[in-house]
Amino acid sequence: MYEEHSSEHKEFIRKEKVTKNAVIISRIIILAAIFLLWEAAANLKWIDPFIMSQPTRIVQTIINLSKDGSLFLHTGVTIYETIIGFLSGTILGTFIAVLLWWSNFAARVLDPYLVVLNALPKTALGPIILVWVGGTTGSIIVMALLLSIIVTILNVYQSFKSCDEDKIKLLKTFGATKVQILKKVVFPSSIPEIISTLKINVGLSLVGVIVGEFLVSKAGLGYLIIYGGQVFKMDLVMTSVIILAMAAALMYLSVAWIEKKFIKMR
């Protein structure tokens, strides 16, 4: 690797780089084409910009919203609620998974309940939560938590269960207690699974947050979308959706980055 590369190897590296660049350029072209076509279609009146909006109007909306600071407020609220939701969902879910691992009996008893709760679209519980918790941020966070917690319990419990029996046996021959087995092998060997659950939970919590904001209607990108829809400001709706897509990607990439750092550390 450290020696002079042969010309054959250089050629190989060059080809790899060309392909990589071609992929990146193609991605940018697709994005640009969509926006250009959209803009042109609106200007040429192929579509009604009042209903379909258009890129320049979206940019204008972003500028307007930035000026009064409301863009940052609403984006910040959504991100904040999502982070609280998925962190609490992951932590609480992992904790419940520990309890299930601890008591095989409880796990067997609760199994059908978890299966049903997992299958149930949790967003259907929105109105109930709104009534019980009230029209506050609390409701939104509970929605986000509810969406992520069941998947977390199932995934993390499964990962605990699939911990290598021989590793557990090895610790048992040293006389390990159940707490020691959990601390020394079951939990540490499940950490990659817990982090990948975190990645799933970012997306799920965001669904919970947006549905929660639809219902609570006080702040956040979900609120902007529902408000924009109600007053027929499609520019606002489209803008919010685009910002939401960017925020979601950002959060997902952050967790993926943490995961990569963590895997490297081990």
């Binding site: 290598d164 590793k167 090895l170 021959t173 390990a176 092998v185």
Partner: protein, 256 residues
């Protein structure tokens, strides 16, 4: 005769909803202090069950197991167990891996820590103690696994096909090394294996088990004429090696 391990008429049944399986039937054997005994037998003859019984991980259905003339009740602290794969924890350094038994038994202090480090140094892992398992070769990992077992200073070592996950060359080399370590530390060892050659080259005695339910089929005292400092690899050159090999092969009565 100084018996370390004694099994008297041990029977072990496993229960599942589908029925009852007799893994071991009426098995009796003695292991003498300092002996290296191999247990060979057809697949599924309850060899590993036997080790689990001796270590106290599971309780026999009937019969009695004595270690140093005391019945095994629960886990025995005199026994060190070495599994089929090294099972080093990937997230811990070699040193942290080797002291895990001490940590669990709450015996980790300056002296025992020093003891573990000394073992690592003595057996060529001193400079690797802060490495992670995946940075080590299969043979080195296996040695680290043995040191993890030795760190809690057990009297008896139970080796459950400890070389089966290694390739052939590594397997020969590491079985030689591990044998030397065991002899040097003056441990009693019980090795469970499929490999007849490995058993003949390493053992003082070989116990052949029957097909399930496992019973003792025969016992062989291995006496090989080799030079003074015999080791497993030298033993393979002994003229009697082949004779023992063939005898045990026939007794295993393998049909495929």
């Amino acid at each position: 005769m100084d018996k370390v391990v004694e099994l008297k008429n041990v029977t072990m049944n496993y229960h599942t909803l589908d029925g009852e399986t007799q893994a071991i039937k009426n098995l009796s054997l003695d292991i003498r202090r300092g002996e290296f005994v191999s247990i060979v037998g057809p697949s599924g003859c309850g060899k590993s069950t036997l080790l689990s019984l001796i270590s106290g991980l599971i309780k026999s259905s009937t019969g009695e197991i004595l270690i140093n003339n005391e019945p095994v009740k629960g886990l025995s602290r005199n026994v060190g167990y070495m599994p089929q794969r090294d099972h080093l924890f990937e997230w811990l350094t070699i040193l942290r891996n080797t002291i895990i038994g001490l940590e669990i038994q709450k015996k980790l202090n300056k002296d025992t820590m020093r003891g573990a480090e000394k073992l690592l140094e003595e057996y060529g892992l001193g400079e690797f103690k802060h490495y992670y398992p995946k940075q080590l070769s299969g043979g080195m990992r296996q040695r680290a696994a043995l040191i993890r077992t030795l760190a809690v200073n057990p009297e008896i070592l139970l080796l459950d096909e400890p070389f089966s996950s290694l390739d052939y060359q590594t397997r020969l080399a590491i079985s030689e090394e591990i044998w030397l370590i065991i002899k040097k530390e003056k441990k009693t060892a019980i090795l469970v294996t499929h490999d007849i050659a490995e058993a003949v080259s390493m053992s003082d005695r070989i116990i052949v088990l029957t097909r399930r339910p496992g019973e003792v089929k025969s016992e062989h005292d291995i006496q090989l004429t080799t030079c003074e400092n015999k080791t497993p690899i030298i033993c393979r050159e002994a003229p009697e090696f082949r004779i023992y090999f063939n005898m045990i092969w026939k007794e295993l009565d393998v049909h495929v």
